[in-house]
Structure formats: C-alpha cells, structure tokens
C-alpha cells in the first residue's frame, strides 16, 4: 500500500533537514575558511583562491548552498508568519526559544542577503562593488577595508550572533523534530550540548571577524605565533 504523506509534511521535514545539512555544515566550513585570516592576509587569500579552484564549483555553490538557502529562508518566513507568540502569558524558557528562533531567523534572512550581495557579488554600491569571489589576491584587503567602519562591525556582530544562535538551537530542534532525541532527560542533555556548541561557534565566528580588524584576532598574533 502506498504511503500517504502530505506535501506539508515533506516540506517541513525538508526545511528542518536543510538547516542542518547542507546549511549548518556549510557554516562550519565557512568559519573554518575565515579563521585562516588569523594567520594573516596571505593565508586567507590563499584559502579563498583554494575555494575557487573547487571542481564543479557552480554546482556545489548552487545545489549545496544557494538553493537550500533560498528554500530554508523563504519557507522559514512562512512558518514564522503562522506563529502566535505568547511569551508574556507563558514565559517558559522553551517558549522564549521558540520566539527567538523566529526572530533570529528574520535577522539572519536580511543579514545573509546583505552578506552575499556584499562579499560574494560586490553589489552594495557605496560600500563595496568588488566581489571577493574571483579576486582572491585582494580578498583580505577588501574585507578589512569594510571593517574600518563601525556600523559594518556592528552589523556583523549582530548577524554572526543571530546566525550562531539559530544554528545551535536548530540542531536541538532537528534532534527532536526527527525523533532522535525523545525523553525529557535526553532533551536536557541535548540542550547543554547545543549550548556548548553555540558558545564555541560564536567564539570562532567573532574571532574570525576580529582577525580582519586586529592582527591575529581577539587573542593577538603572538598567540597564534606560539602554535605555528
């Protein structure tokens, strides 16, 4: 007998999955590449150049990033639209997480849109018109120049924090939505694990950004020198 599933069920499950794979894993890779800036401009530019030599780049980029991203973002807005937040009457932690997940979703929507136009395509007139993609040799300089403006730094701190929150809580949501984590105690431990992951990711993300402002990031170049 055929299995009878609604499109809505399929779409929701795809939405939950796409947030983790590929998008969540892409963020790990993205932070990893950006963290090469801790080693200096040359190391970062090499990493960017390396990325642009990935075979079948256009397929990887569109199938692995852009299409899942657009799907997750647009369908996410639909889900957010349905929410009837009631945090004042029912101020429980998970209920706050529910509302924050949707709020950060909206922030990330605009932030990522800006970020991609900005660095991937160089389409923000008045700020940046040179895409980092294809200009690996000046990649570090392009980014560092933007981060001399305070408002850009503020936008990125907010954007990175919202993204990391959304992903860390997203891992927890995926674990329960796919029935991996079930009982109350398992939910609690999964929560601690996601919180730890979130803190670590946030530190790595902000440090990578800082590397474009101060040599060697938040800990300074001597720190990295010691381990090089």
């Amino acid at each position: 007998m055929a299995i009878n599933i609604s499109k809505q069920f399929l779409f929701r499950k795809l939405h939950q999955l796409s947030g983790i794979a590929p998008l969540g894993f892409f963020l790990f890779a993205h932070f990893f590449t950006n963290s090469k800036a801790l080693g200096g401009a040359e190391k970062f530019n090499d990493a960017v150049g390396e990325l642009h030599s990935v075979p079948y780049l256009i397929f990887v980029e569109w199938l692995g990033i852009f299409i899942p991203l657009i799907y997750h973002a647009v369908y996410g807005l639909f889900i957010t639209w349905e929410a009837r937040a009631n945090n004042i009457a029912y101020p429980y932690a998970r209920n706050w997480f529910y509302t924050i997940q949707r709020t950060t979703g909206i922030i990330v929507f605009f932030f990522v849109f800006f970020h991609i136009l900005n660095f991937r395509f160089g389409l923000i007139p008045g700020l940046n018109t040179t895409p980092v993609a294809g200009n690996a040799e000046i990649a570090f300089a392009l980014v560092a120049e933007e981060f001399t403006r305070l408002w850009v730094v503020v936008v990125y701190v907010i954007g990175i924090t919202a993204t990391v929150w959304h992903l860390a809580n997203g891992f927890w949501l995926f674990a329960v939505d796919w029935g991996i984590v079930i009982g109350a105690q398992a939910q609690r431990y999964a929560g601690y694990a996601c919180a730890a992951l979130g803190v670590a990711l946030l530190a790595v993300g902000l440090n990578a950004m800082a590397a474009f402002i101060w040599k060697g990031g938040l800990l300074g170049s001597e720190f990295w020198g010691m381990y090089r």
Partner: protein
Amino acid sequence: MSTQINPTNEANISRGTAMGTATYAAPSQTPDGTTEAAQRFVEIKIARRDNPDSAQRWETFRIPYRRNLNIISCLMEIRKNPVMANGERTTPPVWDMSCLEQVCGICTMVINGKVRQSCSALVDQLDQPITLQPMTKFPNVRDLAVDRSQMFDHLKRVHAWVEIDGTHDLGAGAKMSQEDVAERYAYSRCMTCGCCLEACPQYGGDNYIGPQAIAQVRLFNMHPTGKMTRDERLEALMQDDGIQNCGNSQNCVRVCPMSIPLTKAIYEENRETIIHGLFGWLKR
C-alpha cells in the same frame, strides 16, 4: 495538579494566619469563618459575550469573601444575584462544569491570563482583580463557554480507538509490559480539556492536529491490538495540519493539568512518522 490544590501552598498558609489574627481581635465570627469587621470582597472581571456573533465586553463583580472559594463557587455566587460592582443588573454568566474535581476538563478557561480549570483554581492563590476569559482557540459560544468539538474531530481523524472486530469472543488480548502500562497510563489521563491547545503558539483556527491528539496516537499505537492499525494513525498525523506543525515551544507540556508527557509523545511520533513516512518506501 498537586501544585494547584496543595494545602501547604504558601499563599494558603499566610492567608490562614491572617484570618486567625482577625478571629482573636473580633470574636463575633460569622459562620463562614470571616468576621463582620474583616468582611472582604473578591473582585472578578468576566469577559462576556451574548452570542457567538456579538462583541465581547468586560463586566466587574464583587462578591463577599469566604475561605476556600474557587472560581466555580464565585461564579455560582454571581449567578444567584447577577449584579455588577457598579450596581447594574446583568444576565447570569454562562460557563461549563461537571466533575468539580479537575477530572472532566470542561470548566477550562483563561484565569488571570493563564489557561486552567476553574474548579481547581482557588481564590486564595490568585491575584485580584481576577480576570476570567473564555479560551481563545475554540469558538466562543457564550460568555465563558466554548465549543471544543475540534478536539473530538482530531481524535476521529487519528483513529484514537482500538478496533475490535466481530461479535464473537476474541479471547484475551496480548500482554503488555509493566513499563508500557505505566507509560500508557500517563497518556490515558487526558481529559480533552484544551489547555495544551490554548497555550500552543502554533495552534489557532484549527490549523494543527495538536499535542492532545498526538498523545492519543501514542496511547493507541502502544496498545498490542491498537498497533494493528498503527500506520493508519501515523499517516493521519502526516496529513496537512499534522504533526509537522509543532514548533517545539513546549508550552503544552507545561500547562497540561494531568502532567501528561506531551513532548515525549510528539517526539516518539516524530520518530515513527519519519521512519514510516520518509524511509518506508525503502522497504518496498
């Protein structure tokens, strides 16, 4: 349940002490435990509606305080003499009640902004003025009465019963492990009160099957005979407005007066629907 009717609740203790002091000061005690000098009132604001299509309005009432008043006894007091605090006469308020011991669920309403049963809501534990509103997620029939048939439709949709076919004796059913019995007992306590749906930020306009029906799927899918129609229930959960609409705010499990592990039920069924729905075709 226990937190709401716990006699050692702090609010009760302090109230008891205050009353005791008053008794010594003025020995002319009235039969209901208060003193004439210390006669106090309970102020109650009720959201009224005359019929399903008319607008809602607030009416304020003031009734004499007695010890151990609950919301239903307040409403009965108001019904005896429906005069508002401003002296204006009005119609007796309408609400539903039956068991008066938090077992039937029909007296559920929104009290001071939170959904709960009015029969077990004690005045001594509530801030005043006390506000009473009908649940907002179900059609409001009149005053505090709502039509909860959505929930019963959901039970039909998910096939929340065990099929026993035939008129002949089928013999004893299969045995259940003690563990399963305990888990099923928890789910079986659902009284279809609607608290979980009222507090669910995803629920509104009957757009989601909801935690109450999902827990009943769990109940009947754990039953040895109920298991035989397991897939039918799972597929009911995977239709439009199905289990996928849960947003994991977990309000349901926090407000359920019967302490039913609703999120556990939802996540168990998430696993079952994923395995059946997404991976089931790999078995063919």
